[in-house]
Amino acid sequence: MNRLARMWDSDIAWSFRNSPVAIVAAIIALIIVLGAVFAPWIAPHDPFNSASLNLMDGFTPPGEPNQFTGNTYLMGTDNQGRDIFSTILYGARISLFVGFSAVVFALVLGIGLGLLAGWRGGWVDSLIMRIADVQLSFPSILIALLIFGVARGFIPPSMREEVAIWVLIVSIGLSDWVQYARVVRGAAMVEKSKEYVQAARVIGVHPARIVLRHILPNVMGPVLVIATIGLALAIIAEATLSFLGVGVPPTQPSLGTLIRIGQQYLFSGEWWILLFPAIALLLLALSVNLLGDWLRDALNPRLR
């Protein structure tokens, strides 16, 4: 109780209570996350179970009965007779899972290499940072595509469906670690020369312990901010790759896959296949981004 009260009184919570944008964004993000997490219980259909689909339900407009089967769907169906509402819930699940996992992967890699570069300095620092510079000169979606393409070459076709999501996570994560590494390295170099670190070294604390217990907590603030914005970017990267047809398998559509399917039917008037998934993706990415923006301002001492 005491702890909750302390949190309620903290600067961050105060800033949150006074930012209507952050509150709305948090509510939207929460709704989508809960919908995705509890999709198997909320969704009226299981769009990933191909055997449960009826092809004759395909292209049902939202809220109207299908001309052959008479079934009605809240947001209509896509070209295979999948309920769009259920598919958005399941698709958001994939998008969020890939986004979170890719960010965690990039965080571990970026923080690890950044701390190493900042603490050791010298040629280790030069090597890691030159690799980072080279990677920064390419658009990250290009790098993700490259990694995805190379990985596909190594994986036998029959395994691809099972490992597609993991390959996706690794390719997005690998294309994204640089920004974390750069921030962590800079912060670590500043912290390294501070007196508490000098003191710890003098009394003979093990370097690994200094880095992990003393420096790391002090560099986490800015990292959390870019990680939040990075989450929105990773979700969009996943949607982009799936839109390009190289992401998740077609039998397990994510939001990007649904948008790719939907754009084929824009001229023919089946707007709902594109519109609803696109709105869901927009709301998800926007709300996470706004939360990230708010967090950056809240943690920035100069803006207080």
């Binding site: 070209n79 398998p249 077609p250 023919s268």
Partner: protein
């Protein structure tokens, strides 16, 4: 013999003459000049006429080069550079072609039998994409300036059907430009003929920017009537929605490869019309029915080896649903693994019953799979109309009979080698029949894989009796007996359920509404056939 050997300066002078003649021609017809802007999904891979046996390549080349015989939109043969073709009465293994007189190439040199002999030899070279169609040719000889004899290894009554995509080049031009051998496309080779042309066709090449645009102008010296279209601008647009948008905004006049979902919308649009027609191509599933185990299945044995499973798969396939929803009516559902254009097709083969999922599920259990089984379904995603969507629908239908198909869909350059190398258990394939005869299907898909046979026999089907009959077809001269043998082969193949046919593909072309262009059964529209209503 060498009356037509050209000396360089003479050829050059004639070329200059023809260029100025062309310039004159273009100014004289400019009063009623009609430019047609034509878009489709892909560009020609090369302009070398004998390098690639591939749809868009041949379609474009038909405007610049000509063949001995052509194919009309009803599938019948028409005279082009040959005015007559027959089998020799003395020797049934010799084909006699009588050539058209007074034909000139675009550079002004005259067309005669030497060019035909040269081209029929060039098309049989190792690097030619058409050599399989000429494998029965023993030798080609010139009898006089306008008569050519083609000696076959045995009687080949249908050889002329193989010539509809064999283009005739000018021998002198080919020798002068060092293109006596076809471009070796697979080895990444380039030659002069890849970007330069000298045909007898109705259009000359004006400019070409591969993958961007190709411009052709009507050839003034062509032997046939002057076409209504005097200039063609050909633009490949790979994205379907962009292609349709280009037509709607008036950037192009004719669009090939119209996505089925846009047909209804285009039909209702003012100023745009659609022509549709059946393509000479059927789409089917096939499976490894011979190996003892499958590579991608959790079953201990090979379920496809069991007739019950093959029957169950036929029972779950709902062809009408695929036609109505996936194809939006743009297909002819059929159980016959050959399109109606092809000799050997019958109405009875086409018939199919309504799906019976319960019976299918029961058959799967009876065949010894109480929990069903899993298998990979390999599918192309950029080759046939809605190929991936057909496979997705099939995955759902099979799932209801407890056959858990795992869809692996990929681009055509990765998909087809799986069939050629026997690396797939279960796959989708579409087959066009350029010869309009069942023997073409049997040779590639039914005969045991050996030598020149069975290159696309991914089912590993092997029946010595059927093989013997297929081999006999090649040299049968009594066409009635030959048709009877074809029927016997089909009976056996249908009984063994070698193919699970889905439908015959339909084609749709969209165009400005004052343009008339019929759908060509091989999807090779000729812009010479375009007429305008005004």
């Amino acid at each position: 013999m060498s009356i037509f050997t050209k000396d360089q300066s003479f050829a050059h002078a004639r070329k200059m003459l023809s260029v100025s003649a062309l310039a004159l021609a273009m100014t004289s017809v400019s009063a009623n000049a009609e430019t047609l802007r034509w878009a489709r999904v892909a560009d020609a891979l090369t302009l070398d006429p004998h390098s690639q046996n591939e749809g868009p390549t041949s379609t474009l080349l038909h405007h610049i080069y000509e063949t001995l015989v052509g194919r009309a939109t009803d599938g019948s043969l028409t005279p082009r550079l040959a005015t007559d073709w027959r089998i020799s009465e003395e020797d049934p293994s010799v084909w006699i072609f009588t050539l058209r007189e007074g034909v000139t190439f675009h550079d002004g040199s005259e067309f005669n039998a030497e060019d035909v002999v040269f081209s029929l030899n060039r098309v049989r070279a190792e690097s030619s994409g058409f050599k399989a169609l000429h494998s029965a040719v023993e030798s080609v000889s010139m009898v006089d300036d306008y008569t050519v004899h083609v000696k076959m290894t045995g009687p080949s009554p249908l050889y002329v059907q193989n010539l509809t995509n064999t283009f005739i080049m000018d021998q002198g031009w080919a020798e002068a430009n060092d293109v006596v051998e076809p471009q070796n496309f697979a080895a990444g080779e380039e030659n002069f003929a890849v970007r330069n042309t000298n045909g007898t066709g109705p259009y000359t090449l004006v400019s070409r920017d591969p993958e961007v645009r190709t411009v052709m102008a009507a050839f003034d010296g062509h032997w046939d009537e002057t076409p209504a279209v005097t200039e063609i601008v050909y633009t490949p647009i790979s994205e379907a929605a962009t292609r349709v948008a280009a037509l709607l905004s008036g950037e192009v006049d004719v669009v090939q490869d119209v996505p089925v979902q846009d047909i209804a919308r285009l039909e209702q649009t003012d100023g745009v019309k659609i022509t549709t027609g059946p393509e000479n191509r059927n789409i089917f599933f096939a499976y490894d029915m011979v190996s003892d185990t499958l590579r991608s299945s959790d079953a201990a044995d090979n379920p496809f080896k069991k007739p019950e499973i093959r029957e169950a798969m036929a029972l779950v396939l709902d062809r009408d649903a695929i036609q109505q929803v996936v194809m939006r009516g743009q297909s002819q559902p059929s159980a016959a693994p050959l399109p109606p254009f092809v000799n050997g097709w019958t109405e009875e083969m086409n018939a199919y019953g309504s799906p019976d999922v319960e019976r299918a599920a029961q058959l799967v259990v009876e065949a010894g799979y109480p929990d069903g089984f899993s298998v990979d379904l390999n599918c192309p995603n950029d080759r046939y109309l809605n190929d991936e969507a057909i496979c997705q629908a099939m995955v759902g239908m099979l799932g209801r009979a407890n056959i858990r198909a795992n869809l692996v869909s990929q681009t055509r350059s990765l998909h087809f080698p799986l069939i050629e190398n026997w690396e797939t258990d279960f796959y989708l394939l579409g087959w066009g029949v350029p010869t309009f005869d069942s023997a073409y299907i049997f040779n590639f898909l039914v005969h045991t894989r050996e030598d020149a046979y069975g290159a696309y026999n991914g089912s590993r089907y092997s029946n010595p009796e059927v093989d013997a009959k297929i081999e006999a077809l090649a040299t049968m001269t009594d066409l009635e007996a030959r048709d009877a043998t074809i029927a016997e082969i089909w009976d056996q193949v249908m009984e063994d359920r070698v193919f699970l046919n889905v439908h015959n593909q339909m084609l749709a072309y969209a165009m400005r509404d004052d343009i008339n262009l019929d759908v060509h059964p091989e999807n090779q529209p000729k812009m010479t056939t375009v007429t305008f209503n005004n």
